[in-house]
Amino acid sequence: MDRLLLDVAHMLAGGLVLTSFMLLYQDRMYALLNVFALHALVLSASVAWQAYIQQAPHLFVTAGIALVLKAMIIPVALHRVVARLGIHRTVETVVGIGPTMLAGMGLVALSMVVMLKATAAVDPLAREDLAFALSVVLLGLLMMVTRRNAVSQIVGFMSLENGLILAAAGAKGMPLVVEISVAFSVLVAFIVIGVFLFRIRERFDSLELKAMDDFRGERR
């Protein structure tokens, strides 16, 4: 029975990594936002399961915050931003999807090797959760690096933050205050970024980062 509990936790954490790969694979803006909502949903399920295993009720609050804020409010808001800004509906990538996925594979392998070596003494649940969380963080970073459009970079940033929450849920004893403040800082970041998006577009008529590079004289 105990074994099954651990297995479900692994399954959910692995599902989060898989959803990160799905984020990397999408090439349509709205599909990307939907997958991001799915990402948050998997995260909230994973955190809720951790709360159940560790018998830590405050983690349920974290799961609830993830569910309401990240799986509902932020995707809906991003949908509206995309609609209002009239952004081109395809996601522009810097390199092709194939090489990006291969790089993602490499990152997952890296995080497995590093984490499992570094945390050999910790109990297996926290250890493998940490390995998955690091992969999600690295995949989020990869997504931010390989996208040209500011909105998809925001999605990358948010998925990175989901990875951090997964890590925090896996490591026992993170206070609730920290989690709430993290959640709200993400919301604030989202608002600030949203304001910035509108400002950037007013300035450059585009959310393509290349336009800003050109403006600064950094031609590639």
Binding site: R3, L4, D7, V8, H10, M11, A13, G14, G15, L18, F21, Y25, I97, G98, M101, L102, G104, M105, V108, A109, M112, V113, L116, P124, E128, A131
Partner: protein, 317 residues
């Protein structure tokens, strides 16, 4: 006596896949039509189509070689053997020592090789396009299949399907690498059977067709045999997924008749559920562009690799 018993069970299995394959195809068509609020053909239509095609005259191109005439039978034989090796309602059949995942992959690959040759045989442009696309997809789908086999072998300690199914029955647990292998196997199965995100099985009018383009020149009994082989392949993949990931109900070696009957009922249930899920997926998504398919299959390869990696790095995954 034991020998006769096991031979009989193996024989039943070989006939069973033959009988069920057209029914499964007709079932998917029926469910698809119902989901689109059409009535759809009756369930026996699969058999009727085959019988009708068998009776029709064969029209051959003037420059068709001997390969063009004998190829369909080779494809059918290879696919039938592969489908008969997968444990459907019972494990530990007479020939289960040959029911190796890699052997099955190789049988399907050789069937595909002949199909690609046949597509190019009479030199029509459609056939050539179909063959080249089939090979492009296969170059990604086969490594993915091999990676899935590796993942399963690492988990279960064998590439033999009977052993894997037994292992899954006795060591039931959720494993991340198995989940990844399942996702990869579903993608490979969709691509191999020319189902919707990759190819549309119901059209002859698109420039994007792959499987239909290769068999376009065929008629009469040759076409019947090729379509039968395609139906068998669909059955093979569904039973493969069933016996590896949902092995419940499989009758072990030398069981009583009752256990075999339970296994048979479970198998029919699995096929129905699998076919329904397949059709549900097909009706909810659109076909993708041909040049996006390598990315899609690349994901299967990646998932297989990831599954192997997770299993390899950490013992407990």
């Amino acid at each position: 006596m034991a020998l006769i018993h096991s031979l009989a069970v193996q024989g039943v299995q070989m006939l069973l896949v033959l009988l069920l394959a057209p029914l499964l195809l007709a079932f998917t068509r029926k469910v698809k039509a119902r989901l689109l609020r059409r009535r759809g053909p009756p369930l026996l239509q699969g058999y009727r189509d085959l019988i009708r095609l068998m009776r029709k005259e064969v029209v051959l191109a003037h420059n068709a070689s001997w390969l063009f005439r004998s190829g369909p039978y080779m494809i059918f034989a290879a696919t039938w053997v592969a489908a008969a090796l997968v444990p459907t309602f019972a494990t530990g059949l007479k020939f289960s020592w040959t029911a190796d995942l890699i052997a099955i992959t190789a049988l399907i690959a050789s069937a595909r090789f002949f199909l690609a040759l046949l597509g190019m045989d009479v030199g029509t442009s459609f056939g050539g396009i179909g063959s080249s696309r089939e090979m492009m997809f296969a170059s990604l789908a086969e490594p993915a299949m091999i990676m899935i086999a590796f993942t399963l072998a690492l988990v279960a300690g064998s590439t033999q399907l009977s052993v894997i199914a037994q292992f899954m029955l006795t060591h039931t647990s959720l494993r991340v690498s198995l989940g990844l292998a399942l996702a990869a196997l579903v993608i490979v199965a969709l691509a191999e059977n020319a189902r919707i995100p990759v190819d549309n099985p119901a059209t002859h009018l698109e420039l994007t067709m792959v499987h239909e383009a290769m068999v376009l020149e065929y008629s009469g009994r040759h076409l019947a045999v090729l379509e039968f082989a395609a139906a068998l392949k669909l059955l093979l993949y569904l039973s493969l997924i069933g016996c590896i990931f949902v092995p419940w109900g499989l009758a072990p070696t030398g069981s009583s008749l009752g256990a075999y009957a339970v296994g048979m009922a479970a198998y029919l249930g699995k096929l129905a559920v699998g076919g329904f899920l397949l059709v549900l997926l097909e009706t909810s998504i659109a076909k993708m562009r041909v040049f996006r398919v390598p990315e899609f299959l690349g994901i299967a390869l990646m998932l297989g690799l990831l599954g192997t990696l997770l299993r390899f790095v950490s013992r407990s995954f």
